[in-house]
């Protein structure tokens, strides 16, 4: 075999393997989604959205868990989102070149990939212990802490994409910096910031570990933020590991609901970006 054939052979082999790797990756995505649809659809019925979580063996739905998840995710993003946006604004505008900004960016990146169970422990120490009991509020704060670094990062990136000329034009009209930010920069970066918020919601709505010992769980309807509250991820965790078939079925249906909404959110976020900045960033 000539050296040339050998090189070609190695080339074909390596490229085939890389195609194979991609196929394996896609296979697992397909396998997970197939399992979810297959097992989740079996229990999908209107009762799922109208009834409370049942005792073992009884029939019921996931209403209180869906409500609790929605409430905690909403409060989480309402706390974490604005703080993250303000911090991102500081990094992109006021403190762009400040030395402390480099430190903040670095720390934010670390927080971005910090294990979420650590955040749960932190909130347990800071909120649950002083309050004396688990609460929906503590769960929401834990989610806010996870949402914040995501928003900081996307806001800064998006504000940096706004052309300098637009900012200069506003400044030249005599506008103060805050006026420029509010009336020129934020509107120009709106789609990017919205995308960041959507991704943050997608990220926190499936988080389980930080809720385990902050919001805990509740078998019944609870609108009280100072008390434990049911939420989808923890219900899925407890029901999936239980020996009761009706609980396991609910866990699969809950898993389908949560994954479908998160994937839809992530895809929607992509469309917001590509429809408003054609040819822009991914």
């Amino acid at each position: 075999m000539s050296r040339r054939t050998l090189r070609k052979l190695i080339n074909v082999l390596a490229l085939t393997l890389s195609g194979l790797a991609t196929a394996i990756g896609l296979f697992f995505l397909g396998a997970i989604l197939w399992t979810l649809v297959h097992k989740g659809l079996a229990g999908l019925s209107p009762r799922l959205f109208t009834a409370m979580t049942p005792p073992p063996g009884g029939s019921g739905g996931l209403l209180n868990a869906i409500y609790g998840s929605a409430v905690m995710t909403a409060i989480g993003i309402l706390i974490g989102g604005p703080i993250g946006m303000l911090a991102g604004t500081y990094l992109a505008e006021y403190g762009r070149t400040a030395r402390i900004s480099a430190v903040i960016r670095f720390v934010n990146d670390v927080l971005l990939s910090a294990p979420s169970i650590i955040i749960g422990l932190f909130v347990y120490e800071v909120l649950v212990v002083p309050m004396g009991h688990f609460s929906a509020l503590a769960g929401a704060v834990a989610l806010a802490i996870i949402a914040m670094p995501v928003t900081v990062r996307t806001t800064e990136d998006m504000l940096n994409l706004v052309p300098q000329g637009m900012k200069d034009a506003s400044t030249a009209m005599g506008a103060y910096h805050w006026r420029t930010i509010m009336s020129v920069i934020y509107p120009a970066a709106r789609s990017g910031i919205v995308t960041g918020l959507l991704l943050a919601v997608a990220r926190i709505s499936g988080e389980t570990a930080p809720l385990l010992f902050t919001a805990l769980n509740d078998q019944f309807w609870s609108g009280n933020l100072a008390a434990p509250m049911a939420n989808l991820p923890v219900v899925i965790f407890q029901f999936a590991l239980s020996p009761y078939p009706n609980w396991q079925q609910l866990a699969w249906s809950g898993a389908l609901i949560i994954t479908a909404s998160i994937l839809l959110l992530s895809i929607a976020a992509r469309f917001v970006v590509s429809s408003l900045n054609p040819g822009g960033r991914r």
Partner: protein, 322 residues
């Protein structure tokens, strides 16, 4: 001069005040990020203090974990965390490398985006979904088809045979590593793809011009150029694998012991905390679990910080070469 007198001094003062308030608000929000990381570190240390003070260094070196006699040692969970993450990377790195190559060098343009998005969606799936999928779908398959084969074929071998002993439980260290690998593939391949895209086309075209094959361009031009970024991406994946909770908790078996066999159940730091924290009675038990959390924080913090530092250096390099 008319324009100057047209400015209402009260209006100007109001504008200045708002400017100051807004600027202060953004600064405070930014400082909150720093405060948060400091707060997390302090809270963990304070919470872990009773355990560290009681067990001293033996907390790190003992395998025992007995809530009844209140004897706690972190060795088994720390070992489990490191071993599962290491095995997960061993499986995930070649696959992620292949995916990144496929996406940057091989895929036709029409295929690039859909496949890229599909791999990224794999990253958006919540970890608890990986957990139940691993428990109900993957582990029965491994138990019935893969593990008996491993025990039969690799078990009798000297050396590595010790890793494949015992009955096929289905759940255990190997299964956990497998699920973790599937979880970190999208993270590592996304970073690798991004750093491969920073390689200047001129470099690749020069190599092609000299008659190199696609693989030779990748191995001898793209990889050396992108090495720092690739390592950064791998370490980011490692950080994720080390701290991952739900996916592991379902399939690791939660057994506080160190077993030489990869098929045996084990535990990781995050799985121990998730499984036991709400049921822990007694201050020493709770404190020991928080101490585990502090160890995890220390390990992941160093890994993530090193990864970010490497990617940061690469970013500067890319900026200066433009």
């Amino acid at each position: 001069m008319n324009t100057v007198s047209a400015i209402d001094p009260r209006h100007a003062a109001q504008q200045r005040l708002r400017e100051r308030v807004f600027q202060a608000a953004t600064l405070i929000a930014a400082l909150l990020v720093l405060l948060l990381l400091g707060g997390v570190a302090c809270a963990l240390l304070i919470g872990a203090w009773p355990a560290f003070a009681h067990f001293k260094l033996s907390f790190l070196t003992r395998e025992i974990w007995n809530p009844v006699t209140e004897q706690f040692g972190a060795l088994a969970p720390v070992y489990g965390t490191l071993v599962t993450s290491f095995l997960a990377l061993l499986l995930a790195i070649p696959l992620s490398f292949g995916i990144a190559i496929f996406l940057t060098e091989l895929a036709p343009v029409w295929l690039k985006r859909p496949v890229g998005v599909a791999i990224e969606l794999l990253a958006a799936v919540p970890s608890i979904i990986y957990g139940i999928w691993g428990l109900f779908v993957l582990s029965p398959v491994l138990q019935r088809h893969v593990q008996p084969w491993l025990i039969e074929v690799l078990g009798p071998l000297p050396g590595i045979g010790r890793l494949f002993q015992g009955p096929p439980f289905g759940i255990g260290v190997l299964t956990a590593s497998f699920v973790l690998a599937i979880m970190v593939i999208p993270f590592i391949s996304a970073v690798m793809r991004d750093v491969f895209e920073t390689v200047p086309d001129v470099l690749k075209e020069s190599a092609y011009g000299l008659g190199a094959t696609t693989w030779e361009v990748i191995w001898q031009v793209v990889v050396p150029y992108a090495r720092t970024g690739m390592i950064g991406g791998i370490m980011l994946g490692l950080g994720r694998a080390l701290g991952e909770t739900m996916a592991v908790t379902f399939v690791i078996g939660n057994a506080h012991r160190i077993s030489s066999s990869l098929l045996a159940p084990g535990t990781t730091i995050s799985a121990s905390i998730a499984n036991e924290f709400t049921e822990a009675v007694g201050d020493l038990y709770t404190s020991s679990l928080i101490a585990l959390g502090a160890l995890l924080f220390l390990i992941t913090f160093s890994v993530i910080a090193a990864a970010r530092f490497m990617l940061l250096r690469l970013e500067r390099k890319a900026l200066s070469s433009v």
